[in-house]
């Protein structure tokens, strides 16, 4: 035992641990700033948020130390049973959790409230790592792919059923892991296109051209579809003439329709665009049938799928829950009401903007204290940093985060052929990236308002423990890397 401990302390990655401790310390100070209300607030009293957070952090370190001492083989062993247990727990939570602000995601055990969704991430990461490191696993085998996708999607759906869509979206970050492990890159490209269609198509859906019955969002999306299609044709078929041809025909057709609508009879030129898109797809299908080159088929499907996606987005937005729809609409600038949902973003932008270069100084923020910013110690904690520490403080924290994530990627990459640890490490890096992107993006008005915490910063035990567990396991897996060589 003693020998192993010595080697553990020598082989564990201290750089990551120090970054972790610095992040948690900065987080705690931010919570102090956000909770500070009056001169005699006691940060160490268990009655105050900072006091409680200190206790959560202490517990987190104990949990981390315990997990560091469990050998890798046990993690590999329990990966599937643990995953199964968490899936069952998530399912049970839907039914036994009380209704807290419309979500059924909190298990209440006396005075303690725990959110199983925060902990199921590491179980999912372990299960995914286990599956991908199984001997003979291949991204090209259909059964393997199905298993792989199922591992990610099952907990995600269960969390959606808990009405915690924000936490469920985090599972999308696993696709970045799958990309690193060899999932085709075009899927990632399709994903990016989908986001663009969504943001423009839905975001501009209420704007019309001035002198004709044309929806701006629809017009732009139907212009982008042939452009993307042409681009893909160029990249995959290497026949640039065809790519140019597709682009030209679409542009000229659209222009002609526009001029006709403008000067002769105003009509919805999107009909022409739609027809052009369909013709383009048919042309690609014809090319596929003639040359039997599969890429044409896929590109044609991409073009048709894009059209379908656009229409279903418009349909779906009507079926979302009101608060989710509002949040999406506000992000896209659809409903700009300072007193409504947009109020949060507006106030948080004012708070951050008022920080300036140097910030107002620790505990001196006024925007976050005069109760302008809601949820200031949980989801909107970055506001406090922005206001009190200014641009320099924010940049410091962001760089710290980037270093931390890149260090984790580095740990994952130095595993050599040890795929289990690498997949697990990438999972952690991806989850952190997603949280950072959505949370900070939301606060500074770049991402939709989705209520997910900023790891190590947002107040709350579940989130802090969840990420500490994720990290502690990685550190242990990484510490054992030499033994495999």
């Amino acid at each position: 035992m003693a020998i192993r401990n010595v080697s553990l302390w020598r082989s564990v990655d201290w750089f990551t641990i120090i970054l972790y401790l610095v992040l948690v310390a900065c987080g705690w100070l931010s919570i102090c700033g956000a909770s500070y209300d009056f001169g005699d607030t006691n940060f160490f009293s268990f009655a105050s948020n900072p006091g409680k957070q200190l206790v959560w952090a202490g517990c987190a370190i104990v949990i981390g130390l315990v997990l560091l001492n469990i050998e890798k083989k046990y993690y590999e062993m329990i990966a599937y049973p643990l995953y199964l247990a968490f899936v069952l727990l998530l399912a049970a939570t839907i039914f036994i959790a009380p209704d807290i602000k419309g979500s059924h995601s909190w298990l209440v055990l006396g005075p303690i409230r725990i959110q199983p969704a925060e902990f199921s991430k590491f179980a999912t990461a372990l299960a995914l790592a286990r599956l991908l490191s199984t001997y003979g696993f291949s991204m090209t085998k259909r059964s393997d792919v199905v298993k792989m996708i199922a591992i990610v999607v099952v907990p995600m759906l269960l969390i959606v059923l808990q009405n915690e869509t924000g936490s469920a979206l985090v599972y999308l970050s696993f696709f970045l892991v799958l990309y690193r492990e060899g999932m085709t890159g075009s899927l990632l490209a399709v994903g990016v296109c989908a986001v663009i269609y969504f943001v423009i198509g839905v975001g501009q859906s209420e704007n019309m051209f001035q002198n004709m019955p044309v929806n701006v969002g629809q017009f732009v999306v139907f212009l982008l579809i042939p452009l993307f299609t042409a681009l893909m044709t160029g990249v995959y078929s290497k026949r640039m003439k065809r790519a140019w041809g597709i682009m030209l025909v679409n542009l000229v057709g659209t222009l002609a329709a526009y001029l006709f609508s403008h000067f002769v009879i105003p009509f919805d030129i999107c009909i022409v665009q739609l027809a052009l898109c369909v013709c383009t797809s048919l042309y690609l299908l014809f090319l596929y049938l003639r040359e039997r080159y599969a890429s044409y088929l896929l590109i044609a499907l991409f073009a048709l799928g894009s059209i379908g996606f656009y229409f279903s987005c418009n349909m779906l937005i009507g079926k979302l829950q009101p608060h989710q729809r509002m949040r999406i609409e506000v992000l896209l600038g659809l409903k700009d009401d300072p007193a409504g949902v947009g109020y949060n973003i507006n106030q948080s932008k004012i708070a951050i903007g008022s920080g300036g270069l140097w910030g107002k100084g620790f505990l001196n923020g006024t925007q976050t204290k005069l109760n302008y910013v809601p949820e200031q110690h949980t989801d909107f904690i970055f506001c406090t940093i922005g206001e009190e520490q200014g641009f320099l403080g924010c940049t410091f924290i962001l760089i710290l985060y980037a270093l931390f994530i890149i260090r984790i990627i580095f740990l994952a990459e130095r595993q050599g052929s040890n795929k289990f640890t690498r997949v697990y490490g990438y999972s952690l890096a991806s989850i952190l990236t997603f949280h950072l992107f959505i949370n900070v993006g939301m606060v500074i008005g770049l991402a939709p308002v989705i209520g997910i915490p900023l790891p190590f910063f947002s107040y709350g035990g579940s989130s802090l423990w969840g990420f500490t567990i994720l990290l502690a396991i990685l550190l242990r897996l990484d510490a054992e890397r030499e033994s495999r060589f």
């Binding site: 990309y179 951050i352 903007g353 300036g356 940049t395 990236t433 992107f437």
Partner: protein
């Protein structure tokens, strides 16, 4: 496993995504925090402060246009802890006329989140509330010296007459429950707590306005936003014209002094309440301003319950005043004819049952029976009706009886525009079935025929009975507000309700009531030149009898119906009749004759001792 290495370069894509996101964020922060001044300015002027501007509360007049309740300016002193710096405590205390200990205790209480749940270091807190102009002038002069202190204009009620405490009601700080029930209110607002103030709260309060002010990062007011273009002016509350005649109210309260009881007068034609006195009463002015809390505590601890409006909340056995309603019912149901006579040998004697009565001629037909208030007559009447072959059972007969009572406005709330009205009690057959296990008949329940037993009414219901008889069979629900500025009254107060008794029977009963004044129990109510109709009531109860009177005048085209109820006042003729007569005289002639004035003084002086019991 070799193909693993094929994708190794993808790590750069992942790292690139991370670095890209962070760079994007830094760029965005650079724009928000350094490039763009707009957000900074926004925060420098620290958004807007929506300052509430309170509307003036509606004013109340009496039916003759005399001012009853108005508003006086009052001032709240507010303090913001964050800005309380370099304070000259001594001069602050001096200007407000408070001690240093009071100041320190107040600051401590404000900071105590248990006592002051809305406390924040950054926002204005109430330091002292509702200062009158005279207490406040010195403080206002020196306000500039006291950093963090500010004033808020409020109004408080001002009463012109020191009567009608329980009727007018009072204003108090809104409770948590009331805030939850109505979004209009925020902590620290005032709301009508009782009486008219409470019932007409929505009309009286008006609409709050807002002043949009700009505030800097330190919470200091920097002026008005867009020169007040976004301000919303407050809408003043609606004025009320009460149906009350304040002179009559003053007289009624004066006559009830040193006694417990109430006087209600109604204009029969309209259902307007002319006076509604409840004794003991209190001066509404004592529940205004800073001393409200202490005084309210004293009033609520008083064993004689001055906060209770006995006219609508007290339920009493109506005694003989109820005989009029019985006569009407028996006539309508054919149990008696006006000519029907019943014997009375010092009371009702049948099958061993005896209900006592005083000495008078026997046998008597209905009109003299009403005039002399013969118990026996109405016992026979009820016995006949309950046992009548028209009805299949006693139950059915009593149900019919109950329907008559309800149609006359008994047993349910009349719907007066005041909170807390009591229903009184009219028993039905289900009640007696339960009470007597189904074995009961007319004899078992005989005492309800003379307004005793289980029956209870409020003084308002007794007065309404008078109004119904005066109207010969119809009434408009009594109400104390004659007119709400710019609003139509509820239809309840505009359209009459009809009883189930024909007009001819009312004429018979009116004759009986007139006879009571001319030759019967109400002779003291015989006013010169006015045809008064009346009925005494002497209600037995645990202690001394209650003294009651119900009447109206003049007989034809009546202008006023009155009910008087004096607890433990003895015979109806002792207090009930003279008080009722004085009220009618005052209202109908506009003044009291010298003799009447003398009588009024005499009644005012008379004290009834109630002992130290809880009432």
């Amino acid at each position: 496993m070799n193909n693993d290495y094929r994708f190794e370069n993808r790590k750069f894509v992942v790292v690139g995504i991370v670095v890209g996101i962070v760079l994007l964020f830094i760029a965005r922060l650079f724009y928000l925090q350094i490039m763009n001044d707009e957000y900074k300015k926004h925060a420098d002027s620290n958004a807007f402060l929506n300052k509430t501007v309170y509307p003036s509360r509606g004013i109340m007049y009496d039916r003759n246009g005399k001012l009853l309740v108005s508003n006086q300016p009052a001032y709240d002193v507010l303090v913001c802890m964050r800005n309380m710096k370099d304070l000259d405590t001594l001069s602050l205390c001096e200007s407000l006329g408070i001690t240093r200990e009071f100041f320190e205790k107040r600051i401590k209480d404000i900071k105590n989140k248990k006592l002051n749940p809305g406390y924040s270091f950054y926002t204005d807190q109430l330091f002292m509330g509702q200062l009158r102009t005279e207490d406040f002038a010195k403080f206002q002069e020196q306000l500039y010296k006291f950093n963090g202190f500010s004033i808020r204009r409020r109004t408080v009620r001002q009463y012109e007459y020191s009567v009608g405490g329980a009727l007018f009601g009072d204003l108090g700080e809104v409770s948590k429950k009331e805030m939850e029930a109505d979004d209009y209110y925020v902590r620290g607002d005032y709301i009508g707590k009782q009486g008219i103030e409470s019932y007409y709260e929505k009309q009286l309060r008006g609409e709050k306005g807002t002043e949009v002010l700009l505030r800097d990062a330190y919470g200091r007011i920097k002026g008005r936003y867009m020169d007040g273009a976004m301000d919303v002016a407050p809408v003043p509350g609606k004025n009320l014209t009460l149906s009350l005649d304040i002179e009559l109210q003053l007289l009624a309260e004066r006559l009830l002094q040193n006694k417990i009881g109430s006087v209600v007068a109604i204009e029969p034609e309209t259902g307007e309440v002319l006076c509604m006195a409840s004794s003991p009463s209190f001066d509404p002015q004592i529940l205004v301003g800073r001393q409200r809390g202490d005084n309210h505590r004293l009033l609520s601890k008083d064993k004689q319950k001055p906060l209770l409006n006995r006219a609508i909340m007290g339920t009493y056995p109506p005694g003989s005043t109820f005989k009029t309603a019985q006569a009407l019912t028996f006539l309508q149901e054919g149990a008696i004819e006006p000519e029907t006579s019943f014997p009375c040998s010092h009371g009702f004697r049948y099958k061993g049952l005896h209900v006592g009565c005083h000495a008078h001629g026997s046998p008597l037909p209905l009109v003299p029976a009403l005039a002399t208030s013969c118990n026996s007559y109405f016992c026979w009447g009820l016995y006949r009706m309950i046992g009548s072959s028209r009805f299949a059972s006693s139950q059915e007969a009593l149900t019919r009886w109950k329907d008559h009572m309800v149609a006359m406005g008994f047993g349910y709330r009349l719907g007066i525009d005041l909170p807390g009205e009591a229903r009184g009690f009219i028993p039905n057959s289900a009640f007696y079935d339960k009470w007597y296990g189904g074995r009961w008949n007319g004899l078992t329940i005989i005492s309800i025929s003379i307004g005793q037993g289980e029956v209870t009414l409020t003084p308002l219901q007794i007065a309404n009975l008078g109004a119904t008889i005066a109207n010969r069979g119809k009434y408009i629900a009594p109400h104390v507000v004659k007119e709400v500025q710019g609003e139509e009254l509820d239809s309840l107060y505009r359209f009459p309700k009809y009883t189930m008794v024909d007009k001819e029977h009312y004429e018979t009963v009116v004759k009986g009531m007139r006879e009571a004044v001319l030759s019967g129990t109400c002779r003291a109510a015989n006013l010169p030149g006015i045809e008064v109709c009346g009925k005494t009531g002497t209600a037995q109860n645990r202690g001394k009898d209650h003294s009651a009177f119900m009447g109206f005048a003049p007989m034809d085209n009546p202008k006023i119906a009155v009910a008087v109820y004096v607890e433990n006042g003895g015979f109806g003729a002792v207090y009930g009749v003279p008080i009722g007569a004085l009220i009618m005289e005052k209202y109908l002639t506009g003044t009291l004759s010298e003799a009447s004035e003398q009588k009024a003084n005499d009644i005012q002086q008379r004290v009834i001792y109630y002992g130290n019991q809880e009432r």
